[in-house]
Assembly symmetry: C2
Homo-oligomer: 477 residues x 2
């Protein structure tokens, strides 16, 4: 749609200048437009928004199929709700967007930075007895944080758009733990759907919400070798229930606080896909989320134009029957220019049809991920469906291989120092906060960001004591 934005020939090299590449790719592929004049807030363009909506549809189906119900809570939260959990409020107060009407002297409301203070006061009204449990809901909504640090579209925004939060409440610690397990399963499905392998870590106690039992976080390995947090599962224990007075009577009539789980993620899922799969020509979209899975580009001269276009329309109809999301590009541009545009946008397959193809009863198909070309016979167009599945699988495999390749292990501090550049490094860790902090001294930005869920006996890379934990070290966003 926009005509005057930078063109892809101005795209930076992805590998060497990732930050520039990312910012340019989002703009030229028409994911977002950053020219909206509020820091950290962007316009979702139709192409980008339809990708994000495909991702949302996946999580809607995933959660609802499991009986998690969708709700909507107001975006404006009164101060009295926020202050019910003073440690939550302490953490978000400085980043709050304050809201008030013209006549009001003092702002007494904020825009929601997270869901808890909007939701949990209502939970305490709704939840009365075991009959109301488990209580499992989610919403997809914007969150707002007055970020003082550098903002980056879809990764760190002041309006965090298309953000989902699941919140559940349970009778017992065990029920809550079972719920958390379920969410690990949801995440597995999400990563497979997006062809986006991830790193799953357990956070140590000092990194979880105050009073909470534990947290799992997911990370994506970015092309810079840095890792980006990409979703979390928080086991809140009874910490929030106690603050917000969410109690239930069990079957014996005894009152207790509920046990809670919450999870959240959003547009970073797309940011991860773009960062991991893109190349110097632009985006490479997994077919599952591509608004256009195959674009047909007619190759014609004045002479054979009608014939070629008619054939393109036939092929389009055939592919629609196979449930391929297909687009026929009839713009008055040179084919090369069209190729270029659709490559930037990451369309998984390009189908070229010219007179030569027609005479040979075939179409020429070019894969966006490998740029490889093959002819497919007109009576075998069903193969295109198979090819899309192939691309989806190949992207996942390739990304997994890349993640494996950049996952190193180090037994000594010197080895860690050597391997950390561009990699994620697994090390022995005694589990102490001292050694956690100590690792930060390796280099600017480097940190131990969590532990493997499976324990393994070894030696702490810092203090040399016996360790049960495998710690993950990398530069983080």
């Amino acid at each position: 749609m926009p005509e005057d934005i930078e063109k892809a020939n101005e795209l930076s090299a992805k590998k060497s200048e990732f930050s520039n590449w990312y910012s340019q790719a989002l703009q030229v592929a028409e994911i977002i437009d950053k020219r909206y004049n509020v820091k950290g807030m962007n316009v979702w363009m139709p192409y980008g928004y339809s990708i994000m909506m495909a991702i949302k549809k996946f999580w809607d189906d995933l959660f609802q199929k499991d009986g998690i119900k969708e709700m909507y809570f107001p975006l404006i939260v009164p101060l009295e709700y926020c202050e019910q959990n003073e440690s939550w409020w302490e953490g978000f107060k400085n980043e709050a967007f304050w809201v008030k009407g013209l006549e009001e002297k003092k702002a007494t409301h904020i825009l929601r930075p997270t869901g808890e203070p909007a939701m949990y006061p209502m939970f305490s009204i709704w939840i009365r007895s075991s009959n109301n449990l488990p209580f499992r809901i989610y919403e997809t909504v914007s969150s707002f944080r007055y970020e003082t640090s550098h903002t980056r579209p879809l990764i760190r925004d002041r309006e965090i758009t298309v953000w989902h939060e699941i919140h559940t409440a349970h009778e017992s610690k065990e029920d809550a733990e079972d719920e958390a397990k379920k969410h690990e399963g949801f995440y597995d499905e999400i990563w497979e759907f997006l062809a986006l392998p991830s790193i799953k870590v357990r956070k140590p106690q000092w990194e979880v919400f105050p009073g909470a039992v534990g947290a799992i976080e997911y990370y994506s390995l970015m092309p810079t070798g840095r890792v980006m947090e990409n979703g979390s599962i928080n086991n809140l224990g009874q910490a929030y229930a106690k603050k917000f007075n969410i109690k239930f009577k069990n079957e014996k009539g005894k009152e207790d606080f509920v046990w809670q789980i919450c999870t959240g993620n959003g547009a970073r899922l797309l940011a991860g896909v773009i960062a991991v799969h893109g190349d110097d020509r632009g985006l490479v979209l997994p077919p599952n989320i591509a608004p256009i899975q195959a674009v047909i580009v007619p190759i014609y001269s004045k002479k054979d134009m009608d014939k070629v276009i008619k054939e393109c329309e036939n092929v389009k109809k055939e592919l629609e029957k196979e449930c391929v999301r297909v687009h026929l590009d009839l713009r008055k541009e040179f084919p090369g220019s069209k190729f270029y545009d659709w490559e930037i946008k990451g369309v998984p397959l390009r189908i070229e049809i010219g007179s030569r193809d027609i005479s040979q009863k075939q179409v020429t198909v070019v894969r966006r991920d490998t740029l490889s070309k093959e002819a497919i016979l007109n009576n075998e167009l069903k193969k295109i469906r198979t090819l899309l599945d192939q691309i989806q699988n190949d992207l996942l495999k390739k990304a997994q291989e890349n993640l494996d390749k950049h996952t190193k292990t180090a037994a000594m501090k010197t080895e860690l120092e050597k391997k950390i550049k561009g990699n994620l490094v697994k090390v022995g860790w005694c589990g102490s906060g001292d050694c956690w902090d100590n690792i930060k001294e390796i280099a600017e930005g480097v940190e131990l960001f969590g532990a493997d869920l499976k324990q393994k006996k070894g030696t702490c890379i810092i203090c040399g004591k016996v360790s049960n934990e495998v710690g993950y070290v990398a530069r983080t966003y």
Copy 2:
């Protein structure tokens, strides 16, 4: 879900105490919860939100099928965007929610009261030439207005949730008019889908946006006899384009401002459905938007419980095959109590299955709209799908008959005065602002709210001059 809210035996009579009935019905049917502690902002409950999402899905499909693309613009708008159209800003300034970060001295941003100031500065960047036109987009989003008058859930909120706005830009006045016509067609489809007949009027020039060419508005006739605005189509002409500098070069290289259309509507669609179709027992939902179209209630004693439940499960499976959204209610409650709950929620069909039904190879089906009961044989369960279609049609027919019954005509002022109570009255109107204002003197709250789209020769009911307009008079919300 909530247990401690008012039960439906406390529902007011719909006809005589509509306002109480409406407020209670929304709460007990679990559409929204009004106990969220911010004036004019409510929580959407899972049941209510899934109805609203069904309506949203309908409009998403309707708009997108026609090529109107979905986008998302930030909810926060900088003052400099607002001030580009000073007459728009004049109208919304006092109702704005102002937003600021903790460190900011003075608020320089607001929450969007409507879409124009967020969208049109971007339109002026994107639209350059005829190639970019027509430009047709929409978004579904919250709007915020610091209403000082009485708020009423889904009808007048401070956070106006699930609100869609379509905005289009065109090369010529004629193209824009064609677009507006198209939207009349969209509205026709929406009213039919919702079984909600509406009143369509043209607004006089002094009631449209300053500088705009014209506006069509839709109204729903509420049970009180008052009419509620329920959607609009605005022909903005070039008025906004001139304010926001949205220009294009035509094929001859000449520059001109675009011609614009915008439309908007949202949760009032559901408010209309609830108000028009509900009765003293609660909601009556059209099958098209009912999250549960048929609820199965087993009727058993201890002795035959297993057998009855097994049969219920079989029937559920059968109906799912017919794409009926069906729910089996296995709660440990008396059947009467279950009937009661599902009647409040407006589920179109109740299916009772007991031992007697099983022995007669049938189910007993009760319609929510008519409360009539019939037996359907097990080998004719397909009839339930037909019955749902029947209910959908009957609801539309009944609502249309009611609207017709309450649409009167009056030739004299005294006749208007007599007929206005509980009715909508069509009168001759000369088209002047004086007579428009004069009609307000008939009674408190009464007004001429628009003219029929078809002109008809007659006599103005106020001044007696020759008139071409048929004016619509009623009490309005």
